[in-house]
């Protein structure tokens, strides 16, 4: 299981790549492995406001429906349009091809709340 060092993480199993006030968001390797075969992804549209801790999308495996929670508050500026067409990419490439949305962060202070790779790994191991 991979936990790239350059990413931040949430306890809801999203990852966040921070580049200034722009962040890219997806679900972790652990999340995709727990879900199993992903068959459906629902993402917001560009321009939608997302709020930290509130769901912004849905991932469905054969067995279950899971909400995806926004790690930060801000506006969606880009969406991975290919993902709903090829949801199985979340299983094969959760950190790269499986990215979900890019958000312009409105409260950079929220980024301090996120876990680093070691903290996230520990969180999973305790769980």
């Amino acid at each position: 299981m991979e936990f790239p060092e350059d990413l931040k993480y949430t306890e809801e199993h999203e990852w966040v790549l921070v580049e200034g006030d722009l962040v890219t968001i997806g679900i972790t390797d652990f999340a995709q492995d727990s879900l199993g075969d992903v068959v459906f992804v629902e993402l917001p549209e560009v321009g939608v406001k997302v709020e930290a801790g509130k769901p912004f999308g849905v991932v469905e495996s054969v067995k279950a429906v899971s909400d995806i929670y926004a790690p930060v508050t801000g506006e969606v500026v880009e969406v991975n349009e290919e993902l709903p067409e090829t949801p199985e990419v979340l299983n094969t490439s959760p950190y790269e091809d499986g990215w979900m949305i890019k958000v312009r962060v409105s409260d950079p202070g929220e980024l301090d709340e996120l876990l680093d790779a070691d903290e996230y790994r520990e969180f999973i191991e305790e769980d």
């Binding site: 199993g36 075969d37 068959v39 459906f40 495996s61 054969v62 429906v65 709903p84």
Partner: protein
């Protein structure tokens, strides 16, 4: 404390993801639901179904008792034959669906759903107490049996490598007592996937030997261990009912599309009067197969609409691994059964287009 089947160590070795199901800790998947599902459709899959319950019914009046207890016609069974049936309450609601195995006229074995085993046994004892079948002896013998299901087009070929039993003589819904990998088994040509296949009942202590022998002999031909996840998507593609979803004390077998096993012409069985009344008055709801015509995954509990009006609810739904399309079984208003009828399923905030389709969803 969850119960574990004798195959629990094998599931751990295989890295299965375990879940709670009907009071049991069971494998939901090994490598992945879709891969296991497709293995069963194209080659073969091996399921641990030891959680299923077994109830033995013996005695001179055993057949007469089962005829009163169950909705199908037990008299049609010959020795060595199995029958799909159900038990109903006097209200017509379903206690459980089950398989009845006839060894002889005084010896039957019922295979019931795991979560219902204790309830079923208590119900059977209650019926026995109320009726004049004092010579009938019922025992919950679930602990005496492990059960493996070998399912798929390659099942017979693979099984033949481990048994001298002439499998071609065991036709559908028949069984034979023989050796498989030197393990004494009831070899039953039954299953819950829509594929050819066998259900093997053996002593719990022999289950690991049987499991490992089957996987060893079939591995090169594409046999995969398959979990409850694939079992559910496979049965759903065939529109086979699952207790707690398509069957319950609130749903009659006529509503559930089990008219074909509901022998109202029998002079008597528990629930007959209620079911006759329902049939005469018109069946209020029916189970239909829905296929989505847009992207989406229907799930149990989602509302179903027709021309804007709420007309029912999804009882089971998934993305069909064979069709790569959302499919659902739904309990809808009784007048809405026609194939091609446009429907909508409420999926979160959207209404997703669907239509009533012929079932099974996947044709063999």
């Amino acid at each position: 404390m969850l119960k574990r089947t004798p195959l629990y160590p094998a599931h751990r070795e295989l890295g299965a993801r375990m879940v709670e199901f009907g009071g049991w800790e069971m494998p939901v998947q090994y490598r992945g639901v879709i891969e296991e599902h497709l293995a069963v459709r194209h080659a073969a899959g091996l399921f641990d179904v030891s959680h299923m319950g077994e109830i033995e019914v013996k005695g001179p009046q055993a057949e007469a008792f089962l005829q009163e207890l169950c909705i199908n016609d037990v008299h049609r069974l010959v020795n060595g034959q199995a029958q799909y049936s159900a038990m109903c309450y006097p209200t017509g609601g379903v206690v459980d669906d089950l398989l009845i195995y006839r060894f002889d006229g005084e010896h039957f074995l019922l295979c019931v759903n795991a979560a219902n085993t204790d309830k079923d046994f208590a119900w059977i004892e209650e019926v026995l107490g109320d009726c004049d079948f004092s010579a009938v002896k019922c025992r919950n013998v679930s602990a005496d049996f492990a059960q493996l299901a070998l399912q798929g087009p390659a099942a017979a070929t693979l099984l033949a490598r481990l048994t001298d039993t002439a499998l071609e003589r065991i036709t559908g819904y028949h069984f034979y007592e023989g050796l498989v990998a030197r393990v004494p088994c009831i070899i039953s040509r039954t299953g819950y996937t829509g594929e050819d296949g066998f259900e093997l009942y053996c002593h719990p202590e022999a289950a690991l030997t049987l499991w490992r022998s089957l996987l060893e002999v079939g591995g090169d031909d594409g046999l995969l261990p398959a979990g409850l996840g694939a079992r559910d998507t496979l049965r759903l593609e065939m529109k086979y009912p699952l207790y707690g979803h398509e069957l319950s004390p609130e749903i009659s077998p006529l509503e559930a599309g089990l008219g074909w096993i509901t022998r109202l012409e029998k002079p008597s069985f528990i629930g007959r009067e209620a079911l006759l009344r329902q049939q005469q008055a018109g069946i209020p709801r029916r189970l239909v197969g829905l296929a989505l015509t847009e992207a989406g995954v229907p799930r149990a509990g989602y509302p179903v609409f027709h021309q804007g009006e709420a007309v029912g609810v999804v009882t089971s739904g998934t993305l069909s691994p064979s069709l790569r399309q959302g499919i659902a079984i739904a309990l809808v208003r009784g007048d809405l059964g026609r194939v091609g009828t446009p429907m909508e399923i409420g999926i979160r905030q959207r209404r997703v287009a669907a239509e009533i389709v012929k079932t099974p969803f996947v044709r063999k």
